[in-house]
Every structure is written in C-alpha cells, then in structure tokens.
C-alpha cells in the first residue's frame, strides 16, 4: 500500500512538474507573495518579522498548490479521461486520490522554498531560523497535513463535475482563517473555532514557532492529529462519493 502511494505521488509530481502552466505559476507566484509579505509587514512597522511573513507567504503557495491539485487536478483528470481509469482500479479509492493531493503538496513545497529565496535575494531577509531542524520537520508536517486536507476536499470533487468552481473560492478564506499571513488574533472571534479545526492553522503555527521561537511540537502534533482525522473522513467520503458518482454518472464528462 505504501509503495502504491509512493509511486503514485512520484508520478503525479512528475506529471505536474512538466506542465508549462504550472512551471510559469511556480516562477511568478512566489515572487509576488514574497513582495506582498514584505510590504505588508514593513507597512505594519514590523520589519523584524519579515522572515515570519515570508514563511507565511510560502505556506500560502503550498495551500494554493494543494487546492489546485485537489480541485483542478481532479477536474483535469476528468477532462483527460484518466479519472475513470484510476477509479476503475481494484483498490481503495484513497490509494488513487491521495497521491494526487500529496503530489500537489510536494510540488507546492517548492513555492515555500522559492518565496524564502526571493525574499533573501531581493529584500535581504536574513534566513535566521530560531529552530532550523524543527522548521524542516514542521514543513514536512505541513505537507502531510495539507495532503490529507486536500484528500478530504478531493472526495467531494470526485462527485461534482464542476469541482474547480467550488475549489477556487476556498483559496483566500483558508489563507486568512489559518493565519498564514495575518495573525488569527486580529480576526473576528467567530472565526476562532473554524481556524481551530483547520490543519493549516496548526501547520502555519508550527512553522512560525520554528521561525521565531515557541513550542513547535504541540502545534505540529495537533496538525498531524487533524490530518489523521481528515484521512479517515476523506476515506469514508471517497467510498460513499465514488458510489454516488457512479450512480450520477459524474466520473466522466459525458
């Protein structure tokens, strides 16, 4: 099973990394995000938190990639006729869908690295992490968390033919609610319970704590626990939604 997930993730990542559209986005978006983060924090008179801002901006990139991967990629598979072919495999549907969202998160990691690199080269942000090893671990935890969250979303996208229309509006609210760029404390109180159940909130917090100091491991642990819940729920939903998609005839375009 692990082998299937690994090979699937590698091949989907290979497929994604050969798309001229994805490559163009990967080159431009991190630069825009690094610039956005720098000017936002400079304007807020918090230049000492520039690295934190760059990390948050990079995380936004991973999230965008996962969202595109779970919504857009499943829609593309539907267009290309590969969704039916993978769903026809005699395996649990998680083994078909998780590699797609995991590959999106893995390729999205590039966005985090590129944002940090642009920040260093253009805006001279020192890459001075308080806990460098914990930062790497937290980054991996974020990728795992986002993959599982992507799986949960992808389960609905398997059912719905216009999945990307549903996926696109989710991009900005999750950035905001998870505190990737703006601290959660500045948001209205009603957003707190929503933020608390998002793995992205805890992943972002773990990265921030590894960057500027704080207890990294509890946040990383909560992120992993929520990810596990996403995996279980995603697996249950996938079985149910795959059956409903076969009943509704939405695995194919026509």
């Amino acid at each position: 099973m692990l082998r299937t997930l690994l090979i699937g993730t590698l091949l989907h990542a290979k497929h994604l990394s050969r798309s001229p559209f994805e490559i163009a986005l990967a080159l431009v978006i991190p630069l825009v995000q690094a610039t956005l983060a720098v000017y936002l924090f400079r304007a807020g008179d918090e230049p000492h938190r520039l690295l934190e801002a760059a990390v948050g901006a990079g995380l936004m990139g991973i999230w965008s990639s996962v969202l595109t991967g779970s919504g857009g990629a499943i829609q593309r598979q539907r267009w290309h006729g590969t969704l039916e072919m993978i769903m026809l495999a005699p395996r649990h549907p998680v083994l078909m869908i998780l590699p797609i969202t995991a590959a999106s998160a893995v390729t999205g990691t590039y966005s985090l690295l590129a944002t940090l690199l642009w920040g260093r080269l253009i805006y001279r942000i020192p890459l001075d992490f308080r806990h460098p090893v914990a930062f790497l671990v937290a980054a991996v935890v974020c990728v795992v968390g986002l993959s599982m969250f992507g799986l949960l979303m992808a389960s609905t996208f398997v059912l719905l033919r216009n999945a990307n229309a549903l996926a696109n509006p989710l991009e900005y609210p999750i950035w905001l609610l998870s505190g990737m760029l703006v601290p959660i404390a500045t948001l209205p109180s009603w957003t707190v319970p929503i933020a608390a159940v998002l793995p992205t909130t805890w992943g972002a917090r773990a990265l921030r704590e590894a960057t500027s100091g704080g207890p990294v491991w509890p946040s990383a642990g909560v992120c992993l626990a929520i990810s596990a819940a996403c995996l279980v729920l995603g697996a249950l939903f996938l079985v149910s939604f795959e059956r409903r998609a076969r009943a509704a005839g939405t695995l194919a375009l026509s």
Partner: protein, 325 residues
C-alpha cells in the same frame, strides 16, 4: 464462482438525470439503455454494434462498474457489478478509443508503471509484464518517450497494453479503432483476435462493420437503448436475404429526393452517407424487383458518379436492423 458465462446482463437499464440553470432549474431525464439482456460465454469475442447514442458505451460502463444501473442486474464471471465491485474490477480490463485516458506528460513506460501498481500487478512481475506488453503492442524502444508525442495509433496500442497489465479475464474494448489509420487498425484487429484465441473474453463495441464481421463470434445490434438483433455475423447477414442493393455516387442529393426514393415500389431502405463532397446513396430493395431504373429517374438532374448493383453485406443488414428500430 463457476458461472458458464463471462458476462450476464438482465434487464439492464440506465437513466441519466440532468439539471441545467440555477434560478429556474430545468430537469431532464434521458433513458440511454432501456432493458438490455445478453450473455457472453467465456472466451467469446462478442461485438456490440450500434449508431452514435445507441447506448453502447453506457452498456459497457454498467458492465465494467463505472456506472450503476438504474435497474436490472449484471454479472462478470458470476460477480455482481454493483455488490462485488472490487471482485469484478480485478477481472476486467477497459480500453477506449481516442486520445484521452493517458497521462500525456509522462512516458509510455511511466504510464504502464503507474497503472501496473494501481491494478495490483505484483512488484516483482511488473518489469517483465510491462516488457511483454510493450512487445505485444509494438512499442518496444518508444516506451521512454512522452505520450504527448505519440501518434493516435501508438496511444491506442498503449491503451491496450494498459488494459492488459493485470491479465484480465474479460476485456471491454470501446471503439478501440476510432481514428486509427488502416494499417494500425489491422494490427489492432490481429492483437484482439490473438487475445480471444488465448482465452480472454472480449466485448467489443465498434462502428466498423468489417471489424465486427472479421473478429466477432456473435454480434448484438443495439439501437435506441435496446438490443435489436443478436446472432453470428452470418445469421445477421441473413436479415438482408431476399434483398438487392443499388449504390450510387452522387453530388448534392436533396432530402426530398431521398424521401421520394423510399416511396418507390420494392424499395425497403435508403441511406445517404457524406464522403466529403461526394455522397454515397444506398438503396435496398426486394431482390425480385429491379429498382435501378426508377431510382435513376427520381435522381434526374442530379450529378451522378458510379452506379453499382450488388448482393447485401453485413453492413446492409445492420442498416436494415437499425432503421427498423
């Protein structure tokens, strides 16, 4: 499960429900398959023939578990397609025609590796199995090239290799030769015949009569969601016994002229096929009535090419069956 049949379908029916618009949603129901009954013996090469929209692909997709039937039942090697989905999927392969269904930016080899893994080919066998199949479909040496550089015929051969990775007992081929050049189509037919000879049950849908005639042990003609005729190619050909066919090459035949031909004494069927600027008009009549003179009189003033009178073929029988539905 020791069923005598590889494929069994009873009263298979499928309705599609569509909804358009948000404020004032309009719901529509389309009955694509209206009660299909068929059985295919193990090792048989069975053809499903029909015009566009007849229900061929919907029937195949219900049999291969991609669609759940609205009513009726189907079994593959004794396993129910709705209840025992995974058991069915272990035993079937699915190949469809056209450009879709492959990861274009990956190589042919990567596509096969991925699907071998998904379809549960044991890791130790994958390399050997992939090499065997590349050899079978004639892609050895091209397997490391990206699929987006493949010709239509190469893609189709890769599709077949993918469909055979896990040695399926039943293979569904949905119009595999569509858009494939004549040489590639002949090679494809040889591959399919070889598979059937080795014991694989094959259900083939096709538009091409010659393909069905050459390959299939039995053929079902489907139109309007129902099986209209079922038998061996020879039995179906007999449906056109007692008929004669006049074929006329023409340019610019109006619909009114075709309608007028249908009313001529002795005429049973007419069909008009567009072949670029040329039209091929086929008129089937009772064998004992010579309609050629009357037909040419009706077409007076229209530019005509070659005129030919001949015995009916399987294609003529097919046209007669579909038109009668």
């Amino acid at each position: 499960m020791g069923s005598e049949y590889a494929i069994e379908a009873e009263g298979l029916r499928r309705v599609y429900r569509t909804r358009t618009g948000w404020l004032r949603p309009r719901r529509e129901m389309v009955e694509a398959v209206r009660g299909v009954d068929l059985t295919v013996r193990r090792g048989e090469l069975f053809g499903l023939l029909g015009p566009n929209g007849a229900g061929k692909t919907t029937t195949i997709k219900m049999l291969n578990t991609l669609l759940i039937p609205t009513s009726g039942t189907a079994r593959i090697n004794g396993f129910d397609v709705v209840r025992d989905t995974r058991e069915v999927r272990r035993r079937i392969g699915y190949v469809f025609g056209g450009d879709r269904g492959l990861y274009d930016r990956l190589s042919g080899l990567d596509n096969l590796r991925y699907f071998a893994e998904l379809y549960g080919v044991p890791a130790r066998d994958q390399k050997r199995r992939i090499a065997e199949l590349l050899e079978l479909v004639g892609l050895t040496g091209r397997e490391r090239e990206p699929v987006d550089g493949y010709s239509r015929g190469m893609r189709q051969r890769l599709h077949i290799a993918r469909g055979l990775l896990h040695r399926p007992e039943v293979l569904f081929l949905d119009e595999p030769s569509i858009g494939v050049d004549p040489v590639a189509a002949r090679e494809l037919r040889q591959t399919v015949a070889g598979l059937a000879a080795s014991g694989t049950t094959v259900l083939l849908t096709t538009h091409y009569m010659a393909e069905a005639d050459e390959l299939c042990d039995r053929i079902a003609v489907i139109a309007d969601g129902r099986i209209q005729a079922l038998g061996t190619p020879a039995e179906l050909r007999h449906r056109a016994d007692g008929r004669r066919v006049v074929e006329i090459e023409a340019y610019g035949v109006p619909d009114t002229a075709v309608a007028a031909l249908r009313d001529l004494p002795g005429v049973r069927e007419t069909a008009l096929e567009e072949r670029g600027a040329l039209q091929l008009l086929t008129v089937q009549s009772d064998a004992h009535v010579d309609v050629q003179g009357d037909v040419l009189r009706e077409l007076a003033g229209i530019r005509l090419g070659r005129v030919n009178s001949r015995e009916p073929t399987l294609e003529d029988a097919y046209v007669a069956i579909v038109n009668a539905s």
